[in-house]
Structure formats: structure tokens, C-alpha cells
Symmetry: C2
Subunit: 438 residues, 2 copies
């Protein structure tokens, strides 16, 4: 077997916002010699070609031989540019080894963005040389910190798999105890001793000293991830404790944060700064200033401000939330992979561009013990939707079940704990099940 | 530290139906020497004492020392005799290493019965020397078989942890393809070539040749498990495909099965033969013949035949089903640990005796990848209910949360993947969460 690799033009091995991820895979057999050509316009494209090639080679258990097609031509490219997976490590600490495995798993599905929501009001588990206070006040425990070395290891692992790492820190709030050392923080309700009634509700105020700190953080993130064309600025208002916010308190956050991001990035604003969708954004002046901003949409209910979205470059996450729906801090239910596969209404939203989508995991009740359970196969199902969103994939038909079942075994062989697609007797006898899955 | 062990009277190390599992644990400190006395009336009781002792010793992370109480007296005994966990390995094959880990996990909760529902209509993954056909027709795959050596290993592992292994084979049906070689099987609907329309619906008929086979199976189970006072006879009608059954076809099953069980057990009927609750049992003659039989109750809906139950020795499982509620072969939802902890109505059922209870797991969508996720912490929560079912444990109050959270960490340290009891910031600051868990 001979493998020829041809990366045609793009000299930057990183995934950039305009990287062409398409590839071509050609298999020929001449004189009993299998010749495989993997070509792409970029490193990332060629890598995807190898991923597909690995799926064409099977072990024939009866003979012990590896078998593959003697002849094939595959031309393939993703439908959407941004194909993400978000893992929250602020509500719960997820060990580095689990994040590395998650990056491996992502690469089997050709996902290209690991959105690492690293902090939350509950913890800030990142060690930053310019702001040592955060390591002191931030983590749940001294052992629950990501060092620069940890982060670089994850960034490198991701990079050679065609995956960019976006690190998001929750701001302007709630930011909680990790920022309690900073004078420019406040809470809506204080008790008699003038400290926060509930430290989980502490948030950043719009003073310059807040943005001095944020600029330092942005600068270290840019340096560690080596991603300077896409940046997740957060601007979120997720709250675990129903803290009461005066939205006016946030006025100007986006302006100032974008300015500081530009400063941190040597004077250049990243091409695609992303923020979370908030009704706040839609209602106020910021929407006017910042057209063509990236907006990530994650709302359980229908969105009443859709008409504003046509100014933005959108990343869809609404029905791709992998977390449990929680009530009284209990997991009530979560979406099935079929529901995620069949979600279609996002295509009808009127946006400037659909950059792509992302499945997201909040870790209130998730840690190392059940991370894979929550991620897989559902994030793989969303990945297929984002890579090849064609009409033929409209329903979860028998080909979808059988294809995912096969992909599950591939992922299991790489050490990922993927939940069953369907009962095992269905894998052994698909026809007896297929009539009953709908 | 000196540990003195005293097993007072019971010379049989096995867990028997009348084994006294109580223990006493006494800790004294004399002249800087810690003296620990563990005493019980049986091996199993003393073992439980050691389990509790292990919970009294903590590592002080700041000093690196092990610490424990200098003085304590604990007298403890279970409320219910039968404290079980059922795992189904017929719908999905669960590797031996996972079953061994499950037995380890059970021992941390002082559960005493591993109810191994080994076969189902979908597969019969057990190798039996007297019936080689079952190994040929039974397993999903040649590699998915429990050998005698595997079973003995699990039985031994369980035995030294005070746990009996009850192996149940699904009978009289559905028994599916694994029994298709046996002439005394049938199905309700046959196709034109006189074979079963759906092999999953194949069931045993009440011919003698059926019971010849069952007697051989019972005999091998008795020999492998070394448990001859309790036996699970199945008599189940769980069906995955809505097969249509003529209940009259089953008439006489229980009589004949009990007779054959007695024959297989050298002429002695086990003291507690157990069958699953079926409306069939309650309505027909068998209820009159077999008073004081063990009946395991597992129904999602309220039970309309409760008045018959006062003849039986009952094992409760109704709301302790750990499986997903499935619809169209998808997991729709499952019970939370709080729901399982709070289930109380079983105490109001009028029965001859309550032998105990059992949490049960059907593995339609469970395999090695997500076994622990389904079992823990919920089976541990049921275990607490069965060991110390006192009024003080009526609600899931703050002591329950904190106790289970501590127990979770103990189990994690032994390599069990236990889901979080609540969000991690609650463990670090219980008071901020406790007001909101109800």
C-alpha cells in the first residue's frame, strides 16, 4: 500500500476562519499494489481525508486480514464552517485526560472547534501568570487547575486533529468568588457587613480596572491557543441562582471588551468575535454598533427577537444542548440523539450567515464519571448534521441508525465510551428493529 | 492499631436466608494504642463491620496522616434480609470485568444479593456443559459468553463480600432464538414456511422435554452458585416485541418447574423460590397451590391484584427500576435518585412478609459504556433504604445529600463511576444549596 499526500496551497497548518476543509481521496489498485492519494487545499482538509481513509479499512475477523475497497473516489467538504462542541469546566472541573479524550473523539466526527467554556461563577480553574489572584481565588481546589502546560497540551492535541480551541471566560457576570479580590465587582444584594449576600451573584462592573484585567486574560488566551481570528467574548447572563441583574449595569460591556480584545491582539480585531445571544443584545444599542458579530444562540424557548438576527453571523445551539434539563438541581430529562438529529427549524431563522452550530454541555451534574455519557453519540450526531446537511438526511432512517452504529464501534475502539444507538439485537438484526424505530 | 475479629456462632461463611448480618464495632484507645473489635454472629455480619470500619478511617490531606475516632461503639443490623441488585445480561452482554466491579460496588453499600438475570429472548450468554446447543444458539457472538470459570470467579468475588449470586434464566418465555433448536418450543404466529414470524417471540411449551432441559440448567446453576436456599425461577412474561401470549399455554409451569428444581437440588426445595409478579399468577390456580412463594414485584403502574399478595413473601422493585423508560426504542427519561429514595408506598402493601427489595436494570440501551452511569448512585440509595429504613430517613434532607456525597467519593476511590449527587459547588458549600433542593 502506498499513500501519497498532497496539500495544495494553504501553508498555514492551523484551522482559520477561511480554511478550505475539503479533501479528495482516491484509491486505485495497480499490479496488486493499492495506491491511495489524499489531497486537500489545506492541512486540515488532508487530515479529514485520512480520517475517512481510516473508515474504509476494516479488520476481517474471520481471516485476520485488513480489507478495503480496491477502487474509490471520494470528494468531500463540510456544509458549515463552524462545527463545534462546548464543554463547561467552570461548574465542574473536568480532568485534562478527559479533555484530551474528548478532542480525540471530536476528530473522529470531523468537528473543528473545541469551545472550552473554562470558567463560571462557581470556579475559575485556569492558572494565568499575569493574574495570580485568579489561581488563588478561582479553583474549587488546588488540584483542580489547568496549568499553561495543560492548556498547551490540549491545544497541540487539537491542532494536529484540525481542531481550534476557543477558550471562553464568563464575563461580565456572574463571575462569583473567583473575582472577589477585584474591587470593581459588585452584587445586587449585599448583607449587613456589606459583603455579597450570595457570592455566586458577584459580577464585573464596567470600570476600567475590570477591562484592564480582561485584557490581560484575553492576551494570555490568544497566546496559549494561537487562535487570533475567532474569539468567544462570552457576554453571557447564565445564572445558577436567579441573581437579579440590572441590565443597564452592563451597558458598554461589548464596546469596551471588543476594544480590549483588539488591544490584546496587537491592534487587530479578530474576524469573528462571538458572543452568546441575549435579549439584552437584541434590544439595545449594541446591536446597531456591532453588525456581523458572531452570535451563538442557546435558548430552550422560541426566540422572540429573531428579526434582529439578520444582522449577525450565527452559530446554532438551541436544541443541541447536551445537558440535563434540571429542576431543583435534579436531572429531569435530556434530549435523545434522534431529537437532535431531527431538529430543523434553525434553517428557517433569518440570519446574515449561518456559520455553523455547536452542541453544548453544562456540567452542573457532569464530571469525569459521566462526561462521555453526555457527549456521545449525541455530539457525533450533530457533527454529521453540520458536515453534510442534505435533504437525504432529513429523517433518522435506517441508514442513519446503521451508519451511527458503525461509527459508535469505531469510537469505542479509540477508547470513547459511547452510549448505544439502539438495542444490541437491532445491530445483529437491523430489519427486525427498523420498522419499530419510528 | 490492633483489630480483633470475633465471629460468634455461624460456621457457614455463605449468606443464607437466615444468616444474621448484624455486627458490632468497638473502638477504644489505651496507652496510645487503638484497639478495634469487630464482632458478628456470622462471617457476613463481621464483613459488614469491616466495611463500616473502612468508612471511619479518613486521610487528612493537610498532614498526610490517617485519622479515625479514638472511641466508638456501633451496633448495626439490616432492616430487610434481601437487599438486591439485578443486572440483565441477556438483552446486552456485560463484560465480566464490569460485573466484578459491580460486585465490588455492591459491597460498599452492604447489598447482599446479586440477581444475575443472565438470559433473555435476545441472547443466552452462558456456557453449560450439559446443554452445548445453548452455547451454539445462545450468545450474540462467540466472544460474548460467560464460561463456568467466569461465573465461578464472580461467585467467589461476591461470596467473600457477603453477597449471594442468584442466576435467573428467562422461562417459560419469551426465550427466542437461543432455544430454537429445542422441539418443544413454539410461537404464536408462524409464517408460511412454518418457522416463527418473529424469533424473539419463541417460547417454551409445557412438554416434559422442556422441563428435562430446565432441570439440567437448574442443576448447573445450583452447582456453580452454591446457593441452594434461594432460587429465582423467573416465570416472567417481559416481552420486547409485544408478542401475543395465550396465558393458558403456561398452565402448570410453576408446578413443574418447582418439582424439577427440587429434583435438581437433591430432593430439597429451596426455602425461598422466587418468581416475578404476573397478573397471571394472581388470577389463576397457582396462587392457591404455592402460598408463601417469593414474589418480586416490578410494575410501572399501580397493582390491581394487591389483595392476593398477602399470601406471598415479597421483594419490592416497582419504583426501583434503574432502566430508562423507553418509547420507540429511545430513552425518554429515568427516575432520579431522589425519587427512588422517597418511594414509600411499598410499605402499605399487604404481604405475608417483606423479604426486602431490589433495584433492577434492563440493558436494552445499556452496555459496558454506560453501566455504572445507570447503577450508581441510585442502587446505593436503594441499599440505604433497605438497610436502615427508619422514619428519620423519610425525606431527602441535608444529611442524606451530604452522606451520599461522601459515600460517592468512597465509591469513586474504588474505581466505580458514580454520578454526582448534586452540583459540585454544593459539596463545597452545602448550605448555599440545601435550601434549594426541595
Amino acid at each position: 500500500m502506498v499513500i501519497l499526500i498532497d496539500v495544495e496551497s494553504d501553508s498555514d497548518p492551523r484551522l482559520r476562519i477561511n480554511t478550505d476543509e475539503g479533501y479528495m481521496l482516491k484509491v486505485e489498485t495497480k499490479n496488486n499494489q493499492v495506491i491511495i492519494k489524499v489531497s486537500g487545499l489545506s492541512f486540515c482538509g488532508a487530515r479529514h481525508g485520512f480520517e475517512t481513509l481510516s473508515q474504509l479499512i476494516l479488520l476481517d475477523q474471520s481471516t485476520g486480514y485488513l480489507i478495503m475497497l480496491s477502487s474509490a473516489i471520494i470528494k468531500d467538504a463540510p456544509t458549515y464552517k463552524y462545527r463545534g462542541l462546548m464543554v463547561d469546566t467552570g461548574r465542574n472541573y473536568i480532568p485534562v485526560v478527559d479533555l484530551l479524550r474528548t478532542v480525540d473523539a471530536m476528530s473522529t466526527c470531523k468537528l473543528n472547534t473545541f469551545h472550552w467554556r473554562i470558567s463560571d461563577a462557581t470556579s475559575f480553574p485556569m492558572s494565568l501568570s499575569k493574574i495570580p489572584e485568579l489561581e488563588e481565588y478561582g479553583p474549587y481546589d488546588r488540584s483542580m487547575v489547568y496549568t499553561k502546560k495543560d492548556i498547551r497540551m490540549i491545544v497541540n492535541r487539537a491542532g494536529i486533529r484540525g481542531i481550534r480551541v476557543l477558550i471562553e471566560i464568563a464575563a461580565p457576570g456572574p463571575v462569583g468568588r473567583p473575582f472577589s479580590w477585584l474591587s470593581s465587582t459588585t452584587c445586587s444584594r449585599k448583607n449587613n457587613s456589606l459583603t455579597c449576600d450570595n457570592d455566586l451573584c458577584r459580577r464585573l462592573t464596567m470600570h476600567d480596572s475590570t477591562f484592564d484585567v480582561l485584557q490581560k486574560i484575553y492576551s494570555e488566551i490568544l497566546e496559549m491557543t494561537n487562535v487570533d481570528d475567532v474569539f468567544h467574548l462570552s457576554d453571557s447572563v447564565f445564572s445558577m441562582t436567579n441573581c437579579y441583574y440590572l441590565f443597564d449595569d452592563r451597558e458598554g460591556f461589548l464596546d469596551k471588551a471588543l476594544f480590549r480584545l483588539k488591544m490584546a491582539n496587537k491592534g487587530f480585531l479578530p474576524q469573528l468575535p462571538i458572543i452568546w445571544y441575549t435579549s439584552h443584545l437584541m434590544k439595545h444599542f449594541e446591536a446597531k454598533t456591532w453588525e456581523r458579530l458572531g452570535v451563538q444562540i442557546d435558548e430552550w424557548d422560541a426566540n422572540p427577537y429573531e428579526s434582529y438576527l439578520n444582522k449577525f453571523r450565527v452559530i446554532h445551539s438551541t436544541k443541541w444542548d447536551l445537558s440535563c434539563e434540571m429542576r431543583k438541581q435534579r436531572c429531569i430529562r435530556y434530549r435523545t440523539w434522534q431529537q437532535m438529529y431531527l431538529w430543523k427549524s434553525w434553517r428557517n431563522v433569518n440570519v446574515f450567515t449561518t456559520e455553523g452550530g455547536e452542541s453544548i454541555l453544562w456540567t452542573d451534574l457532569v464530571d469525569s464519571s459521566n462526561l462521555d455519557y453526555h457527549l456521545w453519540p449525541r455530539a457525533a450526531v450533530v457533527a454529521e448534521r453540520l458536515w453534510s446537511d442534505v435533504v437525504a438526511n432529513g429523517s433518522a432512517n435506517k441508514y442513519v441508525y446503521m451508519r451511527l452504529d458503525t461509527h459508535r464501534w469505531r469510537m469505542m475502539q479509540r477508547g470513547i465510551q459511547v452510549q448505544p444507538i439502539w438495542p444490541p439485537w437491532c445491530s445483529f438484526s437491523p430489519s427486525s428493529c427498523l420498522e419499530r424505530v419510528h
